[in-house]
Amino acid sequence: MNDRIFKLTDVQYSYLGKYPALRDINMTIRKGEQVALIGSNGTGKSTLLHILDGLIFPDRGEVIALGQTLNEDYLSDEKNAHLFRSKVGLVFQNADIQLFCPSVKEDIVFGPLQLGFNDKIIADRLAQVLEILEIGHLLERIPHQLSIGEKRKVAIASVLAIDPEIIIFDEPTAGLDPLTVRHIVDFIVKAKQKGKTIITATHDLHIVGEIADTVYLFGKDKRIIKQGPAEKILEDKILLQENNLIHIHGHSHTGFTHAHPHLPTEKHSN
């Protein structure tokens, strides 16, 4: 089918050939779909995102992206790489790594420049992302000297400046204050309305419902344990609890103590 953006078949990956990071991954992502990958630490979410972004390649199995087999051969052709990089953008888990330019401005225009956009488009994109993420005041700053939240916003801006059709986020809300989390979630929701395909890895369950229609749950054995519509998976408290995504929360209401599984931000009704 034409609207199939990614199709992974039996993908397997291990670091240095000895640390397994992904096993038997099968998934299909369609155009305009919002996907969330959830799972506890070390279950292979980031690894999968790097595979989707064509940065590493599976040991076994096949990745088809935008109708082409995504492998080293394909991306070593400059034209193909150019096409792929302008369509797929990845916001890394670690913003420190993603920001390597001496100023915020240079970091934001890095992608568009590398992809050879013309000056007018670059200027427009810059103005646009500064407005969307409200980071105009950071333009001349040195990226490394920003706070974690500011860095994250600049990292997102640096990917948005390319205006990719497919945006991949690796833990976009980790370590951010509630308002900034709100900002980023709103942003993803808006991008969804514009028809972008969005793939997000997170363990922040309370944003999953908003940013994803399809959820893949990754288990400790680096396999996909379950996949399905967001509501279905979020409902299954026992499964989530088994996978360290929610914890049993013991606390006392006036007079008696009880315990129940708990989403990190659910309000206690006492």
């Binding site: 940065l55 890394f92 790594i97 390597f100 100023s103 240079e106 420049l113 992809l115 490394h144 390319i162």
Partner: protein
């Protein structure tokens, strides 16, 4: 409190960690002068590099310390016109100079290295040391050359953005592998400092203050191995991040290089200055 006193004493671990950090932080601060509005900053980077190259060759070829000193003065003036604080600049450059010169200059002062007319002598360790005129002249010339060359190079790097310098290198047909390596180094230098800082803080929070000398060094040894591993990982990660946004090995900058009339004047000016210095030296 124990904590404050041991920080004051500054044990091995803390001192080395802190100096490494401040060095790297300074290195990134360099860019602050490069983005200032000053004379050198306003020049077109390629022409500026050629001008500095001219001066550098002149400094190396001139045979009299006086004319080299003139060139050095010119360099200081340029620094001043470009908003680089003179004291900061002098410290920056003279820190490097002894490293280059001491080992070569000091021996050559004496009669057993460069023979000639004695101007001073003293006894030490039962040996008679004689400083010769030829030795002294040679040493002065040598120091002047080194000081001027180092200052020129430092001034160029202070007033030009790293990205611009790299692009200039590419323009001058320096191989891409080399430029890529330099740019990667620059890019993760800072991350490196952050890693060291984090490790340092982590150790401190886990074992309290590391006050025992031997233990401090032990941890450093372990850390060097650890940091090495991390740095390989880091260069890979940074490279991935660059790749992900379309990097194909060619540095590209927003500002295009456009030499203006002023740049050409500077180029001609530098040729004239060099020629004059050589001429005056010949006449002498």
């Amino acid at each position: 409190m124990i904590r404050t006193t041991s920080i004051k004493n500054g044990n091995f671990l803390e001192r080395s960690a802190l100096s490494a950090l401040s060095f790297v932080k300074n290195a990134t601060l360099y860019e602050e002068f490069a983005v200032n509005k000053g004379f050198l900053q306003s020049l077109e980077p390629r022409i500026k590099t050629i001008v500095f190259l001219f001066f550098l060759i002149t400094a190396v070829c001139l045979k009299s310390a006086i004319f080299i000193a003139l060139l050095y003065l010119l360099c200081l003036t340029l620094a001043f016109c470009s908003g680089v604080p003179i004291i900061f600049f002098l410290v920056r450059t003279w820190v490097f100079i002894p490293i280059f010169s001491l080992c070569i200059v000091i021996p050559s002062l004496f009669s057993f290295v460069s023979g000639g007319q004695a101007i001073a002598s003293f006894h030490a360790l039962g040996i008679k040391f004689i400083i010769t005129r030829q030795g002294l002249d040679g040493a002065v010339l040598f120091v002047a050359r080194i000081a001027t060359s180092v200052s020129l190079v430092v001034l160029l790097s202070l007033t030009t953005r790293h990205g611009e310098l790299l692009k200039v290198l590419r323009n001058f047909k320096v191989p891409q592998v080399f430029v890529l390596t330099v740019s990667m180094c620059y890019r993760y230098l800072y991350l490196f400092a952050v890693i060291i800082e984090n490790i340092f803080i982590a150790i401190k929070s886990r074992v309290g203050i590391v006050s025992h000398h031997g233990k401090g060094q032990h941890i450093v040894a372990w850390n060097i191995a650890n940091t090495y591993n991390k740095s390989t990982q880091l260069s890979e990660d940074v490279y991935k991040a660059m790749l992900s946004r379309g990097y194909s090995g060619e540095p590209r900058l927003l500002e295009k290089f456009h030499p203006q009339l002023k740049d050409w004047f500077c180029l001609i000016g530098s040729v004239i200055v060099s020629a004059c210095l050589f001429y005056m030296e010949l006449r002498k």
